[in-house]
């Protein structure tokens, strides 16, 4: 007897399975190159190895928030209004928060090695921390309840406001401590195998991002469908209530 594959992996398709496999292979490569095959950096020594995960996760987190902002705008715009945009925004924000959390943890571990401290009030770091908190708030607002349309409208407005907020926070923090080192990451110095490893990291994080968002978004769609389905059942029950003799 073969189990129904659809119920074991309800959110996967051939495409997403391929994507997942590619993401796994990419991650394995990243581990291999990042931890073993790539050489130590002259300046950063072993610290550079953290960069292979830190930089891609930071980039993808920013990309995720851009996707959230754009799809929220697409939801608010009347002609493209669809709950699909809302779900994409939500899924992307959730994965973005995950990656941003990873960015903060790996960043402070890297900072401990390179600067001797877990945290500095660098504008990039601080903006990142604020983004993290802002999108945690965004996810909390998504959970507030109400109809799907209410959820979508509230959170879309919030996401667009967050887009306004980010540059303001960034520039205010930047002017606040102007004397700090500008470049915290020495991407420009990476060459050869190190650059290749960073590239592997970027590819595999992109694959992971797409896979996670795709599945998260499908789970949300199922949740929404379940709510609608529940409504139909409740509706039928409610109608029977009226038929009962009094």
């Amino acid at each position: 007897m073969t189990p129904d594959p659809a119920s074991k992996r309800p959110t996967s398709t051939q495409f997403s399975r391929g994507l997942g496999a590619a993401a796994l292979v990419g991650s394995a490569w990243l581990l291999l190159f990042g931890l073993f095959l790539s050489p130590n950096d002259r300046v950063q020594k072993t610290g550079v190895r953290i960069m292979y995960i830190h930089v891609p996760s930071a980039w993808l987190a920013y990309l995720a928030f851009i996707v959230t902002g754009l799809s929220s705008a697409a939801y608010l715009w009347k002609r493209t209004r669809s709950l699909r945009w809302d779900r994409l925004a939500g899924a992307s924000a959730e994965v973005g928060v995950l990656f941003m959390g990873i960015t903060l943890v790996t960043g402070s571990l890297w900072g401990r090695i390179s600067w001797g401290t877990f945290w500095t009030w660098d504008s990039r770091l601080t903006t990142t921390a604020f983004l993290f908190v802002t999108y945690i708030g965004y996810l909390a607002v998504r959970d507030l309840g109400g109809t799907h349309q209410q959820r979508a409208r509230r959170s879309a407005v919030l996401a667009v406001l967050a887009v306004l907020e980010v540059p303001l926070v960034h520039f205010s923090v930047k002017w606040w401590r102007p004397l700090h080192q500008q470049e915290s990451v020495a991407e420009g110095e990476l060459k050869g195998l190190m650059l290749f490893t960073l590239f592997v990291g970027l590819i595999s994080f992109t694959l992971l991002y797409v896979w996670l968002v795709l599945h998260r978004q499908r789970v949300m769609e199922m949740d929404d469908a379940r709510d609608d389905h529940g409504l139909d059942l409740a509706l039928a029950e409610r109608r029977n209530e009226a038929l009962e003799p009094r």
Binding site: F130, V133, T134, I136, G137, A140, V141, L144, G145, G146, T147, Q150, R153, R154, V157, L158, V160, L161, L164, E165, L168, V169, F171, S172, V173, W175, W176
Partner: protein
Amino acid sequence: MSTWRVARLVAGKDLRIEWRSRVMVNQVLPFAALVMVLFAFALDNDSVLTRVAPGLVWLATMFCLLVVVQRLFAVETADGALDALRVAGVHPGGIFLGKALALAAQLAVLELVLLGAAFVLYRAEFAAGGAVLLVTTFSTATTGLAFVGTLYGGLAAGAKGRETLLPLLMLPVVAPVLIGATRATEAALGTGGATPSEGWPWIGLLALFAALFGAGGTLAFGSLIDE
């Protein structure tokens, strides 16, 4: 009814409520003074206190902002007045501007008291040359805070009783005001050898902040309090 008339009506109503209930005078201002005293306990050093006085004034303002915003929307949700406002069909942008106006007026009083407390308790020094900058800083920062406070307060109130979310949503957003207003106030008071000319760029940031959230709030407030 025009947006401005709605704004005037709502602001007048909120200030009248404030005048009658005296929550600001009897509760928020004592709380603000208390916070200023507690800062002194925590920092326990006169020269440090004088140095950080502008920052503490604005930090205390942020804390009180949370309290005032919650009160601002509690009067609407307590007896279903928010629903009634929605049914009354008044322009939501007008409600936003009106409530922001009332909030700004209350914040202005609060900030005056906090600034006075900083002079008395922390021995902050006043430089006459920075008076214009000081007034400009306080008015632009207050405008920005009032817009953000009303916007996020409305979001929390529209979401029915989830006011606990307010600090999490609002504090990250007002961070630029905290930074900008602190630096500009330092420049105006000459704290730590700062000069007024260092303060003016921050006014630009504060004004941009106020303009962005004022416009955003007027447009978006309807969809936040609706339903």
